[in-house]
Point group: C2
Chain length 384, copies 2
Amino acid sequence: MPRLSRWLFSGLLLSLVGIARAQPPRGPLVVSPEVHADHTVTFRYLAPTAREVKLSGQFEKSAVSLTKNEQGIWSVTVGPVKPDIYPYSFQVDGVTVMDPANVAFFPNERFKASLVDVPGDTPLIHALKDVPHGTVSYEYYPSVEGTTGSLVVYTPPGYDQNPTKKYPVYYLISGTTDTEETFYKVGRTNLILDNLLAEGKTKPMIIVMPYGNIAARITEQKGGAKPADPVVRDDADAVNRANAFGDDLIQNIIPYIEKNYRTLANRENRAIGGFSRGGGQTLRAAFGHMDTFAWVCAYSSYLSPAEMERSYRTIASNPAQTNKQLKLLWVSVGSDDFLYKGTLEFMDYLKAKNVNFKSRITDGGHTWMNVKKYVAETAPLLFQ
Amino acid sequence: MPRLSRWLFSGLLLSLVGIARAQPPRGPLVVSPEVHADHTVTFRYLAPTAREVKLSGQFEKSAVSLTKNEQGIWSVTVGPVKPDIYPYSFQVDGVTVMDPANVAFFPNERFKASLVDVPGDTPLIHALKDVPHGTVSYEYYPSVEGTTGSLVVYTPPGYDQNPTKKYPVYYLISGTTDTEETFYKVGRTNLILDNLLAEGKTKPMIIVMPYGNIAARITEQKGGAKPADPVVRDDADAVNRANAFGDDLIQNIIPYIEKNYRTLANRENRAIGGFSRGGGQTLRAAFGHMDTFAWVCAYSSYLSPAEMERSYRTIASNPAQTNKQLKLLWVSVGSDDFLYKGTLEFMDYLKAKNVNFKSRITDGGHTWMNVKKYVAETAPLLFQ
């Protein structure tokens, strides 16, 4: 524990457990981020000896500098910021750090970012509202090579009160270096579903959020270094890894869920979707197992026409059958996304081959702000 | 998103979604922590331009320095370390940061630490083993002043397979600046229970882990700055805050749990326990509501004899009744804990008043290594 935190912690504890003694010396407590009613946001960071503190947030094009007060607290106010949830971090003398005053963070294998939630004047679709809430559960399941896999599972409001009702299932896969928590903690998928359900805009469903990095888990649990190197060497390696995930999904995750949750266990009641790498895993699992999934959503992701022709030729060679089997094929991307061009090529390929799909081009880039939009737009389309 | 992370991230993604293009420039990927078979641990941190990087971990008495290689990766190997789970952080040019290569972190309102798990040669009681696993669920409940509270709830293996079986409940409260996630993510309470159950050493029970800082949640949800100042001004303030939590527990949390989970809803099947501030909240809630709880565990915490006499005089004035009502009163502390002396005074008070209790003095300080021990020792005593 850092020294500053330790004595803050000790001091707080001493008073909190109710001990009569002189107050220990105590630094200023920092409130950060402070979101103001006009959508401006003040960020603060305590660093009396630092020479430079900057803020990088996905609400700003480039880093902004903070200024220090006489207490050693650096601060800056930005905005007004468009209401949404944004990742951000500080650079303290060039070192990237999370905001130590903020408990909301971005679960990720590699980078460390905090999250700031700028609420709308009317609550946004991911806001915590006074509506019935579902439950988010963390589960272990027996996975490949004797490892224990982890899942985050959303069950809708009322799931425990209707002990005979069965539900369709949406399998939802996060991106590279994300974890099984990212769709919950950053994507707020649970609150989006709670709110859509309260408005009568979607069917109640179970959402299963796996961890996409099988290789890292095997390495970790077999006693290797953690996490495993996520660098993918080439296209074939990417396909192999996606297929390893797809195999785990089909052979282990779906059977575990269908045994332990009350599911409608047929292809018409299974959807699959994902962001970024998870979108690639989605398309490969769906096109490789057309008997398993009838609803498919690729958020900010695609497969190349070359891979489609090489590995999933039947999708395009028999569009009538594909269109009959797939109740939904959704492809979306932001116009600033570095995958924009590739995604358009994928759409062009599908169009040229007469494969039906729905598409959505939004503003913005390869961000979780866009993922939330895509989840909110696609959930109402599923299982209808 | 930090710049380094962003291009790492982009590079990884490009290859992971399977795009044929030249590899972007890429820094070395850092593996940290790397736990070796001999219980030594190597920590690494990428910071080519830093002047000094140190490591603070609860396995070391004081910070240790890292050395830099030609790639700009700082590293140090420590130990052998006694097998356990330890919080640690880096100080990079004096700035405390989590380990960006490690996804295991300490959920806390204030300080930021990562977690390193040094496994035993035979698995420890908190290890992930191939045994039946319970489920950890995140729930919202209607709390005070129109706010929405958060709970983490452990249900034992088989809970969903026995739809008529009812369970006793252990309410377990974390410490100052901890969150509702800390007993799960740092305390591994779910795995400790899974393992004890597999060995037939404890009864199956539901464990409910609330967030203890009511004031912060009210401030946050009512549009104030987040988190609220946790500084407690004096003894009376500490008592008021503990009582506010106790009221929420009795009026909102317990009714929510008993409505939504299959519980044995009587005092003989309700236990309460907590660490540090949560231990103080535990003792106040238990002594203030003797009709509600029959099993009470204070981990690294106590009440002063003065407060006992002022607020809970019937506990000591009628020990025969207290001893009949409380199936268990457990008090534990580490000999290096800064609350050691006060805890001994509390024990002496109980002894002098002929109030029965069980006590456990361990090595070590005010740490989550000790909390895990206390949970593992007390769970087998509950509901017997």
